[in-house]
Structure formats: C-alpha cells, structure tokens
Symmetry: C2
Subunit: 405 residues, 2 copies
C-alpha cells in the first residue's frame, strides 16, 4: 500500500508549491524532534540541500514558528546559529468533563503543561450549557494565570464520559452527566470559546494519553481498560483509536460473565460485567462477605470504597483478598476475550479501581495459566491525568497540520 514516498489521500494534483510545503513540514518535525540545532544539522538529518533548508527555514521563521538562540559551540569551524521550535507560538487546551467535576489543562505546542484548573460542578451546573460556560471560565482563568492571550489558544479537546460521535462532535449518550443525550458539544464549545474543538470519549482520551507518554508509549496495539464507577475500554489499534461504526467500540461493561447466562444488552442499564467488577459491584461483594462473616455492623469496614478494600487485601485481610481475587478472575476472563479477538500487545489497567497494583498482578497471574500468549498487563502510569494528556495530544495533532497554512 505504501509507496514510501507520497501517500495522497485522493486524486489531488501535485504542484511545485507542494514540495515546499512537504519539506517545511519535514523540517518542522525534525526541529521539534531534535531540539535546538543548527541549519547544518537539519541539512544532515533531512537529506535536503543546504540552500533549500535555508530558504524553507526562513519561510517557517516568518510564520513565527522558529526561535533563534544565538551562536552555539564551534566544532572546528564557523560556529552554528542555533534555532529551535517556538513552542510558545500557540497553546492547546484540554478538558475532562467528569460526573462531578471539570478538570482542565493548558499546554504549549510541545505538549508541556503550563496551567491547570479544576472545579466541582454545583448541582445545577451539569447541563450542557452550564458545563460549556464553566469550561470557558476555566479557559480564561488559565490564560490569566499564565498571561497568555486567549487568541493564542489554537485548539481544545474535551472528553466526556459517554458515547461520543467524534466526527459530528456530538455526545450521543452520557448516563453520568444527568443523562446527556445527543448533545452537540463541539458546536456549543466552538461557539462559547471561539476555539476549534474536538470532543472525545474520556476513556479513549486516557488511552491516547498512555500511548503518548504513559504505560503504552510506542505500543501500536493495546487496550486501555478503565475500571472505576463504570467499566469501559479504549481501543488503540495500529497507532490510533478505534471507534467502531457507531462510536461505541470498547463498551465492555456489557460483556457476559463466565458461568452465568448472558443477559440481553440494555444500554440504559448497568452492564453485566460492570455490575460485578465496577466500583459498586466490588463494594457489594465486600458487604456480602462482611455479612457472611458477621461483620456487617462494623461501620468503618462497611463504608470502604473499592480501592481501599484492595488496599486492605494488600495488607493481608483475607476477606478483602477474596473480593480482590474474585474480581481478578472475572477481569481476567474479560481480558482473555479481548485478547482472543484483538490480540493486543498490552493491556493497560486504569481508573480508580483498575489501577490498583495488586489487582493487576493477580489478574496477570491468572492469565499466565492459559497457554496462548497473553498480552502484557500493566497499570496506568498517568492515573487521573491520562485523559488530559490524551486530549492535549489530540489537539496537538489537529494543530500540527495547520501550523504551516
């Protein structure tokens, strides 16, 4: 399929100007990858001739994308003039819309975070319009903190906890957000903020985050399994997200459980798998076992949340360990299913519940028993920051193609 040279999307004619465009892009990539360097370095790394590099860099510089750093160290001749990608030429913003709060981040064109902002939603702030204005407030707050003009924010990616049509920019269904349905979030944010926007599913964003700078860095085929209140997966194949035909790929909360009759999938109810190994399911398992052990009235124990139950297991509590193990058995089964159909290289466990290290080790141990080569399993590196980093990453991708225009 690949020709090794060009890969034109359709049947577009190529003119001399496209050569320059392609070479500018190549040079910009090299400049970003190889840090501060001289034009001579770019000549060597690009394979282009020196005059071409000179003239192309001049063109990029005119756009404000190149910073000059003055003279560098001589290596036996005329000292180089060092240049560098100007990462402050613009900024990108990320927002993670959760069931209870909004978290935001602002980063420069290198993806380096420059500001954070977050807020709890008031009870009457969870409707789409209010969320948009809260988000806009956060955007301005971050700009003010850092003394950045709002016009320098070139792109925004917002993550929502629900089925999201990325192409149309619509959140189709988000049960945790006062049951948002068919919310044209991209258009609303675009209008509110004036900034070009992408909307994505939050779990998918977390997967992208782990790919770019987390537990799955450089792994082309992996699955991010998010276990928190809900259970879902971000599916990353051949270097990019897989959304499916109706944007609902990875809805593994509705998977069946081994040994139990499959129930029909009903989108408006909690899924079969999620009910058992979601946060609430784990807490229910815990209460049942407490009851059986006659400890139901120990309020302190009964009120533990899932991650704390796993902490107890880690400390040696046998009842908690039982809960953890039964969770791991079911999780391992779901992962075995994913592994059979996708054959990913890696599974990353994330979310408040899933990122517990003991759960990961136990699940891994169970999977090693099978004789098919199971995927590696590891916990999230980025934790709750994964979504924001993934959002920044998507915004950077979106912006990159427009920098030279």
């Amino acid at each position: 399929m690949a020709t090794g040279t060009f890969n034109p999307p359709e049947t577009q004619p190529s003119r001399p100007a496209h050569l320059r465009f392609a070479n500018c892009r190549t040079l910009l990539q090299l400049l970003r990858a190889h840090g501060p360097c001289s034009k001579a370095d770019l000549v060597r790394s690009s394979g282009l001739s020196a005059p071409t590099v000179s003239s192309a860099i001049a063109q990029i510089e005119a756009l404000g994308l190149v910073e000059t750093l003055g003279e560098g160290e001589s290596s036996g001749g005329r000292p180089p003039e060092l240049i560098q990608f100007n990462a402050t030429h613009g900024y990108v913003a990320a927002a993670d819309i959760g069931g209870t709060r909004l978290r935001m981040m602002l980063a420069d064109l290198n993806g380096t975070p420059v500001a954070h902002w977050s807020t709890q939603f008031a009870a009457d702030q969870k409707d789409p319009t209010s969320v948009c204005s809260v988000l806009d407030e956060g955007l301005h707050a971050m700009c003010q903190q850092t003394n950045i003009a709002i016009s320098k924010v070139l792109h925004l990616t917002a993550g929502a906890p629900g089925i999201t049509d990325v192409r149309a920019g619509i959140v189709r269904f988000a049960p945790n957000l006062t049951a948002w349905t068919e919310v044209p979030l991209r258009a609303m944010l675009r209008k509110q903020t004036g900034i070009e926007t992408i909307v994505e599913n939050d779990t998918n964003l977390a997967a992208v985050g782990e790919y770019r700078q987390g537990a799955a860095e450089g792994v082309e085929d992996f699955i991010f399994v998010a276990m928190g209140t809900g259970v879902g997966a971000g599916i990353f194949l051949r270097g990019s997200l897989h959304h499916g035909a109706r944007w609902s790929a990875g809805e593994i909360g509705y998977l069946g459980i081994p040994g139990v009759a499959r129930e029909p999938v009903e989108m408006h109810k909690t899924g079969q798998l999620e009910r058992v190994i979601g946060g609430a399911g784990i807490e229910r398992q815990w209460l049942e076992r407490l009851e059986r052990a006659g400890l139901r009235n120990e309020a302190e124990l009964a009120e533990l949340r899932a991650p704390q139950i796993f902490d107890l297991a880690q400390e040696g509590d046998l009842l908690a360990l039982e809960v953890l193990q039964s969770t791991a058995v079911i999780l391992a089964d779901a992962i075995a299913t994913l592994a059979l159909v996708f054959n990913p290289e890696l599974i990353v466990l994330g979310g408040g519940v899933g990122s517990h290290d003991r759960l990961c080790r136990e699940t891994d141990r169970l999977l090693r028993n099978a004789d098919f080569a199971p995927p590696r399993i590891r916990t999230s590196f980025l934790g709750t920051q994964a979504q924001l980093h993934g959002a920044i990453s998507l915004s950077l991708s979106a912006v990159e193609s427009k920098l030279l225009c």
Copy 2:
C-alpha cells in the same frame, strides 16, 4: 492528522521527481477508474494542466502501462485519442492452501480472473515443500492455459489455514495442514516460483475478498466470521485487516459460551466455541438429538453434514431446526461480544456452515432483541471464492506501488 495534500511516511525529503511520480500515480489511478478516456478527460478529472498530463502519460506509456485505442467520437471538435490502462501488462496469482486441496487463480491487473486451477492433495503432499511444488505446478499450468509468460506474473498471495506472520512470511501454526509449525512459506514460495509473495491467513483473505467485491464492499469496519470445520474471524477495521500483535487476532474459536464455565485457552486443542458450533459440533448436536428421538440408526440421517442439517431445518424438520436454533443462540452470543468490543458496521457470515442463509436470518433475529444497535448481518457473497479474490486484491495492492518504478 491529514493535511489534505501529502502524507509522508517518515521524514523523507521531497524533490521535483516526486511531483512527477505522484502525478503519474494519480493519473494511473484515474485511468484505471474511468475506463477508456482521452487525455483531455484526464486533464479535467485530475486538475493538472494539459501539457503535464501529456508528458506524464507519455512516461507511463513508455512503461507499457497504457494502451491506445485509436480515435473516439468527436463532441464538436477534434476527436479524442482514447487511451486505457493496459491490464495485461502483468498478472497476479492467488493460492488458497486448504486442508485437503489447493485452489488457484490468475488475474490481470484489473483483478479480472483469467484462469483457475485446483487439485486435491495426495496423502504425501501436505508437507510444506510438496505444497510449494504443487503450487508452482498450478502456476505454470495456468500460464500455459492462457499463453501468458510466467515472467508476466508479478505477484503471488497464498492463504493458509493457520496463524500467519505476514511481515515475516511465516506460517506459525496450522493444525489442519499436518500441523505445520513455523513454516517460512513466503521464502519457500519465493524461491520455488521466483515471484514476490505474500502469505496470509485464509480467513483474513476471505474478509478482504468480501470487502473488495463481496458482501462488505466499501464497508470500512466489519468482521468476517468463518464457520466451517473451524470457527475464526477476519477483522477488518478502518479499511484494512487487523492482525494483532502476534498475528492471532480473530481467533474466536476459543471464546467462551454463555452459561458454561470458561475453560483455559489451549491452542493445540479445539476451542470451546468451535467445539459446539463448528461443523463437527453441529453434527454432534444432531446425533444427540437423533438419539434422543430414537432415530440413531437411520444411517442416512446420521451421516448428514452440517450444511445439509441446516437444509433440513429449512425444509421444516423440527429436530434439525432445534440444532440450527441452538447454534444460532451461541453464534448470536459470540457476535454480541464482537459487536460490543469492535462495534463493527457489519458481520459477514461465511464458510461452509456459516454461509447458510437460514442460520444468518435466525442469528439476526436473536440479535434484534438486544437494545444496543447491533451490526447488520449478511452471508458471504463470494462463498468459497472469497479467499482467492482477497488474495488477488492484496497482490494488486502490492503490485500497484511498484508499477511506476
């Protein structure tokens, strides 16, 4: 991500020659798509200027890729000189290595079949070396039939019923081929035939076939489920095959069955799902029901194969209908799992058992009961020819990028 213009794979410099290369490729694509046409037509469809089209076409013609057809009808002025892609400039070959036989096909550069060939393997012909020489024999036979020089066969794609490392060209494990393991088939075929070769899994080839000219034509996200002796799936996402990290994506024969405890996956045994709804499993279900009905001794009934049992069901036989329905229930469950994780637009049922229309309708009916939007389900259009058509398609893709070099 897409810039709308170029999409260079890495950081390769662009020179003027690349312009010509890209434009030649564009023109060749247009020529292939728009059938016989004039240079003036190409000027209009490509957006390039007339002199450029003239000179580029001259270059392509010098490579033997263009046929001149003489004058066409005038439309009020000088009559056009019609040209056409020369599909007989070269040929591509396809081979489907089955457990009992080898089927082959030869096609021109339009993908139009020009010859077929097949043979049953003798008992001592199933080892890799023998298969290669039988395949070579078939290749020469097809060339002789059609009076085509073997040197005009530019590419070969061979499908094998097992886990295949396409990049390395190695059949890792094929239980139906006298347990081939780690067979470097691509290198062997390359050496035997002298032709550039791709090796692929046969189910994956069938999926490609259905995508290019079958039940999934133009559908970017679909899954081909092959039910025959074994049960497997070809996974087609975002317009191309998904192989997974270890080339074993789609091994759904090992999926669990609802209500039954999951057993550990053991690659060298038949999978849990496959044992029940593979050909042999269906025949066992049939025999059990015959026995219960006291009909075990009806030799004629007892010897029926799975597709014939389904034919009986179609004709109204109640016992056979029970078998079909219980198969459909389990198949629908597996498809529901696939739909949840992949969210494909379409499922294509193929293989000797799976392509039975009644099974498809019954499975579809069961899936409509769920309230998540299930994929469309249809049977294979190409039947047993799907693998060969898919192989031709892959060979054409491989050849296209080299035609202009």
